[in-house]
């Protein structure tokens, strides 16, 4: 796969998010006012559906379940609670459409989290 059209930019108004299906993968498109981000539709914390629990304001995406937050300009973690980075697809806007570079579904590893199964971080922490 490669650059895939996800939706029209006008489908997702400023400071909102929308879940769409592209080629059998569901993604969340977020318009943060200064641009778009395309990501897996769930919160990296406890798998909450971000289309419902996600709030976009001041270019920051916050999940209302436990206030994990990410700055959508830089993708840095925001807020005092956030412990995991947000994963996103590369994104570009062309002729009023939003495209994402999708080579396969991005998933969070909730099950065999590296912090759960990797022995190294305990010893060198």
């Amino acid at each position: 796969m490669s650059w895939i059209k996800v939706c029209a930019a006008s489908d997702v108004p400023k400071n909102t998010c929308h879940k769409v299906w592209v080629e059998g993968i569901s993604v969340l498109v977020v318009n943060y006012g200064e641009g778009f981000r395309v990501m897996p539709p769930i919160c990296p914390h406890m798998e909450e559906p971000l289309e419902e629990s996600g709030v976009v304001a001041n270019c920051v995406l916050t999940c209302t379940k436990h206030l994990w937050a990410w700055d959508l300009r830089t993708l840095e973690m925001d807020g005092s609670e956030t412990e995991k980075p947000l994963k996103t697809y590369d994104v570009k806007e062309e002729n009023g459409d939003v495209y994402a570079f999708i080579e396969g579904e991005i998933v969070y590893e909730f099950d065999d989290e590296d912090d759960m199964d990797d022995d190294s971080f305990f010893t060198n922490a």
């Binding site: 406890m46 304001a57 920051v60 206030l67 937050a69 925001d78 807020g79 609670e81 912090d115 922490a125």
Partner: protein, 348 residues
């Protein structure tokens, strides 16, 4: 029992008791373990058992729904160690050196109880030893008559005290709340573990205070208002409280709230939002210091605060989870508060 916790920020070992949840023994040992409800509903205290025998006291806990049981995942707030054990905790954990304020078990006796409305009861406890807590914190209370502990926020605020007050809303069919309504309470002995929770507000927060509560969610706000009044917070900062109940008759602590409004000399505004009836007047018939509005509490807050959010406010939300989510959304989008300026307790 030797309990070893492997965390993202290092390995900690302490001696715990098989009779209490690993979360509680770890917190008593000064470890900053992750938790939110401390009573099995939220799933925040997940850990993985790597070695030893650990038992979940309440296997059906709603917070356990997403656990990978086959991998040995448990909720630390429900897990009891039956042998020496090793657990992995997927969080950054620190070890406090001063254990004087660490939460611990105490014995408590109900000193007084009074019903405030058809389904709300207030009670006072006398503790076996004084407890120092922050305004907004909660404790887990247990009676031998009901299985499991329940989380309740302290209503009062006194520094280092053995008198704690609580307010509980009756939940039809609920174990502990129905027990409170069905029994002669004075003299009953309870076990209490605390203080717990990070949804606090104190003099270190030199900010305006926006508090939004649904029903018994007002508990922590009462404690915060007491502390703020003692420290003359409202000489320098403003306060806005929105308290949601169904009808005027369901309102409680209205006199106490009116007294705080008087003491704040114009810097504190309190609104009682009635979801199930239109208010007959713009202010409370008995306490005109308290405003009335209709609709859901976060909608009342939205109407009242439009254009009035300062740029240095702290938001505090407590109550049933759907109400808390609505209020958090408001504080993020309308008040444009950064997430680190918002604290909340979900009463699930």
């Amino acid at each position: 029992m030797k309990i070893k916790l492997e965390t993202k920020s290092g390995v900690f070992t302490y001696t715990g008791d098989c009779s209490e949840p690993i979360l509680f023994s770890g917190l008593s040992a000064g470890l900053s373990l992750p938790y939110e409800c401390a009573t099995g509903t939220c799933g925040s205290c997940r850990a993985r058992v790597m070695d030893g025998s650990v038992e979940m006291a309440w296997p059906e806990a709603p917070g356990a729904a997403k656990l990978k049981r086959d991998k040995g995942d448990v909720l630390m707030c429900q897990a009891r160690a039956n042998s020496d054990c090793v657990l992995r905790v997927p969080a950054n954990v620190t070890q406090a050196t001063d254990l004087s304020a660490a939460p611990k078990w105490r014995v408590a006796r109900i000193a007084a109880a009074r019903q405030l409305t058809a389904d709300v009861i207030h009670f006072d406890l006398t503790l076996s030893s004084p407890m120092t807590f922050k305004a907004g914190q909660f404790a887990v209370v247990e009676t031998p008559d009901v299985l499991g502990g329940r989380a309740y926020s302290m209503v009062n605020y006194v520094e280092g005290t053995n008198e704690l007050s609580f307010v509980v809303k009756r939940k039809p069919g609920g174990g502990f709340s129905e027990w409170l309504f069905a029994n002669e309470l004075v003299g009953k002995e309870l076990k209490i573990f605390g203080p717990l929770g990070a949804a606090t507000f104190g003099p270190e927060d030199q900010k305006d205070f926006i508090g939004i509560a649904g029903g018994s969610g007002i508990a922590g706000i009462m404690s915060i208002l007491e502390r703020a009044t003692l420290t003359e917070h409202f000489r320098k900062h403003k306060g806005y409280i929105f308290f949601g109940v169904r009808t005027l008759a369901d309102g409680f602590y209205v006199k106490e709230l009116a007294d705080y409004v008087d003491k704040a000399q114009g810097a504190l505004e309190v609104t009682l939002a009635l979801s199930d009836e239109a208010p007959a007047s713009p202010t409370h018939p008995e306490f005109p210091q308290v405003r009335l509005d209709g609709g859901f509490v976060h909608e009342a807050a939205k109407r009242a605060m439009e254009g009035r959010y300062g740029d240095n406010a702290m938001g505090y939300v407590a109550g049933p989870p759907p109400m808390v989510d609505g209020a958090l959304r408001l504080l993020l989008t309308e008040a444009r508060l950064p997430p680190q300026s918002i604290r909340y307790d979900k009463f699930a």
